[in-house]
Symmetry: C2
Subunit: 557 residues, 2 copies
C-alpha cells in the first residue's frame, strides 16, 4: 500500500485524437484532480445528437478520491460539459474570474448555480489537495484569463498548458507569463501536457492586434452601417471592435444571446470597457445616420439560427442590411462549417453588401488563438520536460507535435501519444503506458444524456438515407387468412401518390408472400415478419436500388 500511496498516473478522458470535449485527470495515490470539462459538437455521423461530452465512469467509480475540477479557460470545449458533469458528480470547481463568470451563465440555465462550489483562482494562487499542490501561470489565447496549471506531486511536477499562444503585444496587457513558465521549467518538469491545435502550422501566429488594425481601418472606410460578427468569447477582439466603433464615431448594437450574455459578464468583471452611452438598441438605429452605426453579432460560423444568418436572409425583426453596408466576418470557418459560411457570404453579396472575410495577413479579420510550431517549441523549451504527452488535437497534430518535441531535445522514447482512456503511470521517475480506464463519447440528445447508443444511431442512419415502409396486415386467428390490408405506409422512401404502380406491386407481393406462408407454416409471426422483410427488401432494392427500413406489423384478431 505504501508503494501505491504516491502512485502517479495521468489520462485523457477527452481531447486526444479529437478536437473538443477536453478532460484530463491526474491521480496521485488517493487524490484525483480533473482538468477541464468540455463538450464537442457532433459531426454529421451523429444524427440528431446535440452535444458530445466525456464519459466519466472512472470518476463515478472513484467519487471519494475526486478532489477538484480545475478549468483552464472559458471556451465550450473546456467548460461545455460542466452542467452534465455536476449532475453526476458535484465537486468544487476552480477557475479564474472570467471563466467563472462564463460558467455561471451555464449553471443558471441548468438551475445549478446554488448547489455548485465555485472557487476563484488567479495565476498567483497556490492550492493544496492532499499531497498535490497546484500553482498556475498566465497564458494568452482567444479569450482572456487563461491559466496553465502546474501540479506538484511527490513524484514531480506535471504541467498542463491549457490553450495558448505567445502574443507579446496582447490587447489589454494580458501577457503570457514567460518568467513564471521559466521558473517552473527551471525547477524541473517531470511531465508536460501541451496543446497541439496548430502543430501542423509553421512559424508564429500573428498578434491579435493585427486584427484590431484591420477592423479599425474597415470601420473608418465604411460609408454606411458596419456589421461585424465574431466569437462572443473573444473579449479582446470585442474590445478592439468597440474601440474601432468609438474611433469612427459609431454607436454600437449588440445582437445575439451569447454576445449579449458574454459581453455583459465581461463588462461587469472589468474585462471589457464599453462607454455606457455608445450602446443602443437595434430598434433605435433609425435615429442615427448609417455611418454612425456598428452592429456586433453572433453567427460567424454560419449557424442557421444565429443573427448573422438571419440578417443575411433579411429575416431579422429589427434591423436590415442595405446595399452599400459593410459586413465583416471576423473568424474563419471551423472544419464542417465551410458551406454554411459560404452560403451566408453569397446572401450578403446578394443584398448588395461589401463583404470582408478571410484571414490573409494584409487585410485579414482573424488570427488564430493557438500557437504555431515556433510557439509550441518555445513552450517545450521553457518547460524542459522529462516526459511529454501532446494533447488537444487529432492524431496528425499530436504526431507533428511529437516531431517538434524531438526537435527541441525531448527524448523520443519519453514522448507518449495516447488515446482517450490510456493511462501513463510514472513511478521512480520512469513513465510507461499501463492500461486503460473507461473513456468515450456520451451523447446528449434533448434531455437524454447517454441514452442514445449505436442501435438508435444506426436506425437514424438508415431512416435518413432511404426512409421507412410500414406494412400492416390483419389476420384472422381462427380462419388463418388475411382479414384486411396490407396497408402500406411510406415515409421518406417514395411519395406514395407518385408511385402508384410500385405500391400496387408491393401490395401484391405482400399478399402472395403471406398467403404462401400461412399455407405452409400457419401464422408464425416471427418467421412471417422476417420473410416479409427479406422478400420485400430484395424486391425494393431491385426496383429502386434503395434500402428503406421495412417494418411489418401483423395483427391477429
Amino acid at each position: 500500500m505504501n508503494k501505491d500511496r504516491n502512485k502517479l498516473f495521468v489520462a485523457a478522458l477527452g481531447g486526444v485524437n479529437e478536437i473538443g470535449k477536453n478532460m484530463y485527470i491526474l491521480q496521485c495515490g488517493d487524490e484525483i484532480i480533473v482538468i477541464d470539462c468540455g463538450s464537442k459538437f457532433p459531426d454529421e455521423s451523429f444524427l440528431g445528437i446535440d452535444l458530445i461530452i466525456p464519459d466519466i465512469t472512472y470518476l463515478l467509480n472513484n467519487t471519494e478520491k475526486v478532489k477538484a475540477l480545475i478549468i483552464t479557460h472559458g471556451h465550450e470545449d473546456h467548460i461545455g460539459g460542466i452542467p452534465y458533469f455536476l449532475k453526476q458528480l458535484n465537486i468544487p470547481i476552480y477557475a479564474s474570474r472570467l471563466t467563472i463568470g462564463l460558467i455561471e451563465i451555464k449553471l443558471k440555465e441548468h438551475g445549478l448555480l446554488r448547489t455548485t462550489q465555485l472557487n476563484l483562482i488567479d495565476s498567483n494562487s497556490h492550492i493544496s489537495f492532499g499531497a498535490i499542490q497546484a500553482s498556475f501561470f498566465s497564458t494568452n489565447h482567444s479569450i482572456p484569463d487563461c491559466l496553465g496549471i502546474a501540479l506538484h506531486t511527490p513524484e514531480g511536477t506535471v504541467v498542463h498548458t491549457g490553450d495558448f499562444k505567445f502574443d507579446m503585444s496582447p490587447v489589454n496587457h494580458q501577457y503570457p507569463d514567460l518568467h513564471r513558465m521559466a521558473d517552473i521549467g527551471k525547477n524541473g518538469v517531470l511531465l508536460l501536457l501541451s496543446e497541439s491545435t496548430n502543430a501542423e502550422r509553421p512559424g508564429f501566429t500573428p498578434s491579435e492586434r493585427l486584427v484590431g488594425d484591420h477592423i479599425a481601418e474597415a470601420f473608418s472606410k465604411a460609408q454606411q452601417k458596419v456589421f461585424i460578427s465574431t466569437f462572443a468569447s473573444n473579449v479582446h477582439r470585442v474590445q478592439q471592435i468597440v474601440d474601432a466603433a468609438i474611433k469612427s464615431g459609431r454607436k454600437l448594437v449588440l445582437l445575439g444571446r451569447s454576445m449579449v450574455n458574454v459581453t455583459s459578464v465581461a463588462k461587469e468583471l472589468g474585462y471589457l470597457n464599453i462607454p455606457e452611452d455608445m450602446l443602443i438598441d437595434a430598434g433605435d438605429t433609425d435615429r442615427y445616420a448609417p455611418e454612425n452605426i456598428a452592429v456586433l453579432c453572433t453567427g460567424s460560423q454560419g449557424e442557421p439560427m444565429a443573427v448573422l444568418s438571419r440578417l443575411a436572409s433579411s429575416n431579422h425583426r429589427q434591423i436590415e442590411i442595405m446595399p452599400g453596408d459593410t459586413v465583416i466576418i471576423a473568424a474563419t470557418a471551423i472544419p464542417g462549417n465551410e458551406r454554411n459560411v459560404a452560403r451566408i457570404i453569397d446572401n450578403l453579396y446578394l443584398l448588395g453588401a461589401n463583404v470582408i472575410y478571410g484571414s490573409g495577413s494584409s487585410t485579414g479579420m482573424h488570427v488564430s488563438g493557438h500557437g504555431n510550431q515556433e510557439e509550441l517549441k518555445l513552450m517545450l523549451t521553457l518547460m524542459k520536460p522529462q516526459y511529454f504527452i501532446p494533447v488537444h488535437g487529432e492524431f496528425r497534430m499530436l504526431y507533428q507535435h511529437r516531431l517538434l518535441a524531438e526537435s527541441v531535445g525531448v527524448a523520443e522514447e519519453n514522448i507518449f501519444i495516447v488515446n482517450n482512456g490510456e493511462t501513463v503511470e510514472i513511478q521512480n521517475n520512469i513513465a510507461r503506458k499501463t492500461g486503460k480506464i473507461p473513456a468515450g463519447n456520451m451523447l446528449v440528445d434533448g434531455l437524454g444524456i447517454g441514452d442514445i447508443g449505436n442501435v438508435v444511431l444506426r436506425d437514424r442512419k438508415q431512416l435518413s438515407a432511404d426512409g421507412i415502409l410500414v406494412v400492416v396486415i390483419t389476420l384472422s386467428k381462427t380462419e388463418g387468412h388475411v382479414l384486411s390490408g396490407p396497408d402500406i405506409i411510406s415515409r421518406g422512401f417514395v411519395y406514395v401518390r407518385d408511385s402508384e404502380a410500385l405500391m400496387r406491386d408491393i401490395n401484391q407481393l405482400v399478399v402472395s408472400t403471406i398467403e404462401k406462408l400461412l399455407e405452409e407454416h400457419g401464422s408464425q409471426w416471427n418467421m412471417m415478419k422476417q420473410t416479409l422483410r427479406d422478400t420485400l427488401g430484395r424486391f425494393l432494392f431491385a426496383q429502386t436500388k434503395r434500402r428503406p427500413m421495412i417494418l411489418p406489423i401483423i395483427i391477429e384478431v
Copy 2:
C-alpha cells in the same frame, strides 16, 4: 415571325449560384444548342440522394429545336448528367477525343453506347447548326482536351469558355490557344460566358509542372513504397506520376475502378504514355523491393469506399501500407470533404507512414485547374465582350468576377449575374433579362430520377434527427373500445429496452387519449390520429426535448 427568327437568348439550366451540374443553352430562332450536361454531388441536406442533375423541362418542351449537346471537357460536373439526359432526349453529342472516351465509359455502364450519336470535334472543327456556326479553341485545365466554344449567330458571336487556366508551360504541350482566342476577340464578341471558380483568388495559378517537380522529388527521396492519390481524370498529373516512377526506378500499381478505367482510355487514345512493362498487379508487389514500388490510387477526397480510405484503415485485400512508406495526397479537399480527408491522414500517420499533403507552394502536391483573377482578366481582355455573364460559381464568385470584368473595361450595365433559368435575350445589339424558363435540381436516388421531392426529403430529415414512433391500436368496430394494443414501436427515437418507464407512460397516455375520444366522438379515425399525434408529440417533447415522427395506426375489426 420574322422578328423572332433571329431572336437570340441564353440561359443556364445549371452551374450558376452553385458549383456543379453545368448546363447552358443558347437559342437562336428555332435552334437550341446545349453546352455541357453535368451532375453535382448532394450536400448533407439532400439525405440519401446520390446525384443531382439539371431539370431539362424546357428542352423536353422544345425537343424539335434542340440540335446538339456540345461538351467542353470530361469532368463529372460537365458530363455526369449525360446518361440521364439521353434517356429523356436523344440528341447528337459533340466533344473532343478524350472527352468522348470518358463519356463512352458512362454510356457503357448505362447500356446507351449503341443508341448514342457521338461526334468527334477538335479545336479546328467548324460545324453548322442551321443559322448557328460553332467553332472552338483549346484551353488548359486539370484534364486534357478542353475546348472553349464560339457560337456565331446572326446577332453576333457568343463565347463559352468552359473551365480554364492559362498554363504557359503545360504538360504534354496542351497549350492554351491564345492566338485563336485573340482572333475571336478581334472579330467581335457579343457575349462572353466565362467560368468563375477562382474569381476570389488573386494572382495567377501555378503551372501543373510545379506539382510534377514536387512529386518527382518525393518519389526519389522515399526509401520504401510510395502511394499517391489524385483525381483519375487529371491525366497530366498521372503522366507526371508515371514519369516520377520511371525516374525513381519504380513499378507502378493502379488501384481503383475510375483510375483503371480512365488511364486505360487515356492510354489508348494517346494522352498517356506508360511503358507496358512498368505496370504490375497489386498482388505482385511482394516480388519487388519496397523502394521499387509506386501505387497510384483513387480516394483523394476521402471517399469512404475508395482505395485510399481502405488502405488507410488496412482494409485492402492485396496491398498494405507499412511503417516508413510514403503516402502523397495530390489534391486538396473539396468543401464538404475536409473531415473525411483529415480522418484518412490521421489513419495513415497511425500506420507509421510519411504523409505528404497540402498545397503550399514550396512542397505542394496540388495546383488548381482553374485560372485565378489575373487569368480571368486575361480571358476578358482577349475576348473584349460587349456583354458578359459570369458562370460556374456560387454567387460570391460570380460577384467577384463581375468586379474583375469592370476592372478591365466591360461596362457595368452590360454585365448580367443570372440565376439558373433566367433568360438573357439579345436583339439589335441590346441585351436584357427577359424572364424565366424551368430550371432546378432533379434528384437521382438509386434508380429513381426526379421521384424524390420535398415531402420525402422533409420526412427523411425528421427521421434522421429523432426517429419514428409507431403506435398500433386495434378497435372493435361494433363495441367501440380498444381490442388490443397499443403496441409501441420505436426506431431511431429511443432504445426501448433502456426506456421502460417512458414506454409505460406512452402506453397509458395513448390508452387514455383513445378512450376519451371514443367516448366523446366515437371512432373518427382522422381526428383520432391527429389528436394522438398532437398529444403524444407534446408529451414526448416535454419528456425528452425530441420530436420523433409519430405514426398512429388504428385498425378496426
